[in-house]
């Protein structure tokens, strides 16, 4: 059982997380600062040069000097000593608040997430209620009857902050509950409580530490705010209280606000950075990134660069007969930067040395297992790879025009009109917030420069053409109101809406019901014939290939290993990988008559 438990905890590998943390200089810096602050506060009685409450009126408002490093305040008290002692109040406030928030939020989150039922409803409602309460006002209410001591105020704020930890715990637990290993543990006879302890708690611990460091920061700010409002113990030095006093002598000595402000700012900042560094180390989502992020949004042109060595790395299966092809791709390479465990950035190719062509009116099947680089090849041609992708080729041309080095603006003018794309997952490829009509009409208006009325008319005709019965209703529908098959028809209508010369269909039937698959495939073939389009059909299904393709390119691990007319491929596959794929497809499957199926070509 223990082996099982250790084998299945995936999120938390403390040793590895620690290593990653130790490589982050910002995180280490924050940890050092925090440790210093804690030591300074705890050992304030020994470190402080003066009694923090020692009033020497003759020494009031002294500037920094060797005797008083940070000067003195309006009562002649030593500012440095008060800062050191003040840390104690802030740390205590943070500890009380964290403890409250954890005690209230974590167990309820565990129970709500794990057992759900009525408890989840009630707890979630209370959590929303607490989040709707303005903190300071509630604390003022509490102070009215319970006084302004550190405990009642910080416990109140801790309760108000507990929804943060409740929601975190609950969502992590729900995620984990769905995992198989909990079921497995349940079957093997572990009690519920032990399941929670073993699995869930270990997964929740990391993200909890991250949130807790933020909550600690909130506590320090809230506590100093209350001190500033006058709710505090004037006999205990605190950073908020110092700010309050400094504010009272603001016109005489404004510089007194800096030291306590800096103390608060530095502590909270260190907590935030520390939390973010932990989040990075355990690989969880976090608001603040301490390491570089490569996320981008606009101008994400994945320009295809000219390959450096044109001749040396020509693919093994050279692509002949590509002279008058509509699309010609030579020696395409797609790679991504990989940051290895040592922090060194390497470059991993997912497509390498791929050459292929498609003639007008021809259907090329692009076949291979998942991960073989089929989709990456398609997106590279369309210029739709994510920005971090690095793409190069000896040649890429569409109807004789080279696409090498094309900018995003140039590619954008080609997309839709010259080359178009039918995706795999119909529902995730429609924008959930816009109607079908809007998603068909807007691109047409941009790509073809036609009026809204004309585009709407065209869209309706297209929907009728792709076999949607009630076009008016479908036009007004949102994606969540459509079935998968309907959505795919809409996407096909969109893809052909601007009369492209080349249609790239990426597994267009994989996500559909078996009954709909054949219809959609027929539709694609009809449209292709009717418009004399060239088509690249990405698929892993040799049945589909046999049904409608003219030629086939077989991909394995980023390479095209074989390229043949469809009849020849089925009759005499050359490459071992092709043979293996064919064997695994045909074995046990209903015979589809591969040799006859290419009929019409």
């Amino acid at each position: 059982m223990t082996e099982f438990a250790t084998a299945t905890v995936r999120v938390n590998r403390p040793a590895r997380g620690l290593r990653r943390f130790l490589r982050n200089p910002l995180g280490i810096g924050a940890a050092v600062v925090l440790l210093t602050i804690v030591i300074a506060a705890v050992f304030a009685p020994f470190l402080a040069p003066y009694d923090p409450n020692l009033i020497v009126l003759t020494q009031a408002l002294q500037p920094p000097s060797p005797e008083h490093w940070l000067g003195t305040d309006a009562s002649g008290r030593d500012v440095l000593s008060r800062i050191l002692w003040g840390g104690q109040v802030s740390l205590q406030a943070g500890v009380i608040m964290i403890a409250t928030a954890v005690v209230v939020g974590v167990p309820t989150g565990l129970v709500a997430g794990f057992f759900a039922k009525w408890f989840d409803g009630v707890a979630s409602w209370v959590s929303n209620l607490l989040m709707s309460l303005p903190e300071i006002l509630i604390v003022i209410v509490v102070i009215t009857t319970l006084g302004s001591g550190l405990a009642p105020t910080m416990i109140t704020i801790g309760i108000l902050a507990s929804p943060d930890l409740f929601r975190l715990t609950r969502s992590v637990v729900i995620g984990v509950r769905e995992e198989l290993y909990i079921d497995a543990a349940r079957v093997s006879g572990l009690g519920n409580a032990r399941i929670i302890f073993r699995h869930v708690l270990s997964v929740v611990a990391g993200p909890l530490l991250v949130r807790a460091s933020f909550v600690f920061g909130l506590a320090i700010i809230a506590q100093s705010g209350l001190e500033f409002l006058g709710f505090g113990n004037p006999e205990r030095p605190s950073w908020g209280g110092m700010l309050s006093e400094a504010f009272a002598t603001f016109f005489r000595a404004p510089e007194l606000v800096f030291a306590p402000g800096a103390a608060i700012g530095l502590t909270v900042m260190s907590l935030v950075i520390f939390g973010a560094a932990i989040a990075d180390a355990i690989g969880s989502d976090n608001a603040v990134a301490t390491r570089g992020t490569r996320a981008t949004v606009s101008g994400s042109a994945t320009v295809i660069e000219r390959a450096e060595s044109d001749e040396s790395t020509v693919a093994e299966t050279s692509d002949s007969g590509a002279d008058d092809a509509l699309l010609r791709v030579e020696n395409l390479r797609v790679s991504y930067p990989v940051s290895s465990d040592k922090g060194v950035v390497a470059d991993r190719a997912v497509v390498d040395g791929v050459s292929l062509h498609v003639n007008r009116g021809e259907i090329l099947g692009l076949v291979g297992e998942s991960g073989s680089g089929k989709s990456q090849t398609s997106f590279a041609i369309l210029g739709l790879l994510p920005p971090e992708a690095m793409v190069s080729a000896s040649a890429v041309s569409l109807a004789g025009d080279s696409l090498l080095g094309s900018t995003e603006a140039q590619l954008q003018k080609l997309r839709g009109v010259r080359m178009a794309y039918v995706p795999q997952e119909p529902l995730s490829n429609l924008d959930p917030s816009f109607t079908v009509a809007s998603q068909l009409v807007t691109p047409m208006r941009y790509a073809l420069g036609i009026s809204r009325a004309e585009a709407t008319e065209r869209a309706r005709a297209l929907l009728a053409r792709v076999g949607i019965p009630d076009t008016k209703r479908t036009m007004a529908s949102y994606p969540h109101q459509l079935s998968g098959g309907m959505a795919q028809r809409v996407l096909i209508a969109g893809a052909v809406s601007c009369d492209p010369d080349l249609l790239i269909a990426d597994e267009p039937t994989t996500a559909l019901d078996v009954t709909v698959q054949a219809e959609v495939l027929n539709l694609l073939r009809e449209l292709q014939r009717e418009r004399n389009m060239a088509m690249i059909l990405v698929t892993h299904n040799f049945g589909v290939v046999a049904d409608i393709c003219d030629r086939v390119a077989v991909m394995q691990a980023g390479h095209v290993v074989e390229q043949q007319p469809v009849r020849d491929l089925f009759a005499s596959p050359q490459h071992d990988y092709t043979k293996m794929l064919l064997a695994s497809t045909l074995e046990g499957a209903a015979p589809r008559g591969p040799l006859v199926a290419g009929e019409g070509s």
Partner: protein, 313 residues
């Protein structure tokens, strides 16, 4: 849509009722004494007892609760036990100050936060990194400290804006703007950072969705997709953040008011707390919670307008 709004409004009213009721019983049962609070520490027991009788504090607690609730429903929040003025009068003069600050701060945060969030999402590298730094600073520096520094620089040193006081909007719009500018800046910095960060993250997430790629494959320019499809889908989490920021601003305003000597409900509440003036505290709470409910409702409606799954059922 109407049913949706009615449902959300109902939930909001239930929330306000639960909070106000809970706080009423908390104040009554934990033994605060408005009579003593009103008369001060040096009043004799007899005086306090008489006052207690006058204020109706010797009645059963349920009776007191029903009395308060039934009057409150008719818009009568009772008399302040310490100041002898109707609570509603206090609130009507003080509430506009706080609401100006909170609403102003949230509007500024919505505009600047969206701007910075979109810029950060679309300009990786230096600008994005810069936002991360501002985000940490915006969170780490207490807003009242920022307020003091702003007052020091812009009011005391540069003398561009007044350091203290409040001018009613209807007395002088320009004066009103001058008096609330610095408080709003101080109050909004943290919210700007929070909204910018939220929008940045959700824009980046949405931009990676399949449908964005498909729209690009149709020949739509990236900028057009960003401003229609991506922003619309990225907005809901930022809206939720906005309503949380309003709650935080109502809270923060109570502290910022002190820096600029503004007579808002923060100072009303603090005074009332010191006097155990339960009627005033309840009035402040009721108004604040109703405001929060109203803002949440507006956010819910905006949410429904953006999300067809909520709107079209």
């Amino acid at each position: 849509m109407v049913a949706f709004i009615a449902r959300r409004l109902g939930a909001g009213i239930v929330l306000a009722y639960v909070v106000v009721t809970g706080m009423f019983f908390f104040l009554k049962l934990t033994g605060s004494d408005p009579a003593r609070g009103a008369l001060g520490l040096y009043a004799s027991e007899d005086q306090v007892a008489t006052r207690r009788e006058q204020l109706g504090l010797n009645r059963p607690i349920l009776e007191q609760y029903w009395d308060w609730l039934s009057h409150a429903l008719r818009g009568d929040l009772g008399m302040s036990s310490a100041q002898n003025t109707p609570v509603i009068e206090l609130l009507v003069t003080r509430l506009p100050v706080t609401v100006s600050l909170a609403v102003g701060a949230v509007l500024v945060a919505a505009i600047l936060g969206s701007l910075f969030g979109i810029l950060a999402a679309t300009n990786p590298g230096r600008f994005d990194r810069g936002l991360q730094v501002v985000m940490v600073l915006g969170f780490a520096l207490p807003n009242f400290w920022v307020a003091i520094i702003l007052a020091l620089v812009f009011a005391v040193k540069l003398r561009w804006l007044p350091a203290t006081g409040y001018i009613q909007f209807f007395d002088s719009p320009l004066g009103w703007l001058q008096t609330i500018t610095l408080p709003i800046i101080a109050l909004s910095i943290g919210s700007i950072a929070a909204i910018a960060q939220q929008l940045r993250n959700s824009v980046i997430t949405v931009y990676r969705q399949d449908y964005v790629r498909t729209l690009r494959s149709r020949g739509l320019p990236a900028r057009k997709i960003l401003f229609t499809n991506v922003l619309r889908n990225a907005a809901p989490p930022a809206l939720t953040m906005l309503s949380l920021q309003f709650i935080a601003a109502m809270s923060g305003a109570a502290i910022i008011e002190r820096v600029f000597a503004l007579q808002g409900i923060g100072s009303v509440a603090i005074t009332a707390s010191g006097n155990s003036d339960i009627q005033v505290i309840m009035g402040v709470l009721l108004f604040t919670v109703l405001l929060v409910v109203l803002v949440n409702l507006i956010v819910d409606i905006a949410y429904a307008a953006l999300n067809p799954k909520v709107r079209v059922s």
